[in-house]
């Protein structure tokens, strides 16, 4: 079970959280200007790396805030926790290998 540091509540057990999948996905719009391909990409295409993954988590059994987590999918190491509006920490990109 992961130990996740909520930006507000500090380290809490994984069972208090819900993973919302990949983060930093841009919602395209307005409707009329979005191609079917672009829309299907938004709905369905997701990264599945072995390595660092930027994903959004909800502290569901807690402060009910969403935030971003940079997690290594093989070791489960959590490299960073940052706010929803913040960009993915660039300096971690080089570490995107096992």
């Amino acid at each position: 079970m992961l130990l996740i540091s909520c930006p507000w509540c500090g380290p809490r057990e994984e069972l208090e959280f819900r993973c919302g999948g990949e983060s930093h996905i841009q919602r395209p719009g307005p409707c009329e200007s979005v191609s079917d391909e672009r829309w299907s990409d938004y709905l369905f295409t997701r990264k599945n790396p072995k390595g660092l993954h930027y994903e959004r988590w909800l502290h569901a059994f807690g402060c009910r805030r969403w935030f971003n987590v940079a997690r290594h999918t093989a070791t489960h190491r959590i490299e960073a926790v940052y706010a929803m509006h913040e960009p993915a920490p660039i300096h971690l990109e080089q570490g995107n290998v096992l």
Binding site: C9, E16, F61, C63, R65
Partner: protein, 180 residues
């Protein structure tokens, strides 16, 4: 707890469901420090901005989330609170009827809580006037420390019956007397 709605006891731990009292959730969308100060003044209660902490004034205010507090024991009206806030979005929800509140006390209170909660209740980690929203017995709950050996637990009122079954069952182990 003579006027408790429900109670249970065992060696070293007592549990009582407290009578209903005014409970409100105060929500201020992205509040300025001034807005917080104005509402705190109206409530006669400081509003904690440190996460997971409690401040006592005329009422008791528990930090729940950024811009969100549980206020226990305040008679303030929604109109007064929202106008004091002076922010564009403010909300004062009366949930007095929406929660069941339990007091858990005694030297083994922590052992009872540990059966249902992943929160670390050691005094170094969870001092007096600390609070946390978390899962308790797999239910959404708020817990706060009111004294050295006393805690309060808030759960949804519709789950009170289940909570009491759970607590009663959890207490049983502590009721075993040593045959010697």
């Amino acid at each position: 707890m003579p006027d408790a709605i429900w109670s249970g006891r065992a060696d070293g731990v007592d549990v009582a469901r407290l009578p209903a009292q005014p409970l409100h959730v105060l929500r201020l969308r992205a509040p300025t420090p001034e807005a917080i100060a104005h509402v705190a003044a109206l409530l006669g209660t400081p509003l904690p901005t440190t996460p997971n902490s409690v401040r006592q004034g005329q009422a008791r205010a528990l930090w729940l989330a950024p811009g969100e507090w549980l206020v226990v024991g305040s008679q303030a009206s929604g109109a007064d609170v929202t106008s004091a806030a002076e922010t564009r979005a403010a909300h004062w929800a009366d949930i007095s009827d929406g929660r069941a509140v339990y007091e858990i006390s005694g030297p083994r209170a922590r052992d009872l809580l540990a059966k249902g909660s992943t929160i670390d209740f050691h005094p170094r980690a969870f001092a007096r006037d600390a609070c946390a929203q978390s899962a308790f017995a797999q239910l959404f709950s708020i817990v706060e420390r009111t004294g050295k050996d006393s805690f309060r637990l808030y759960v949804d009122v519709s789950l009170a019956h289940h909570m009491e079954l759970w607590l009663g069952d959890a207490l049983e182990e502590f009721q075993i007397r040593n045959p010697d």
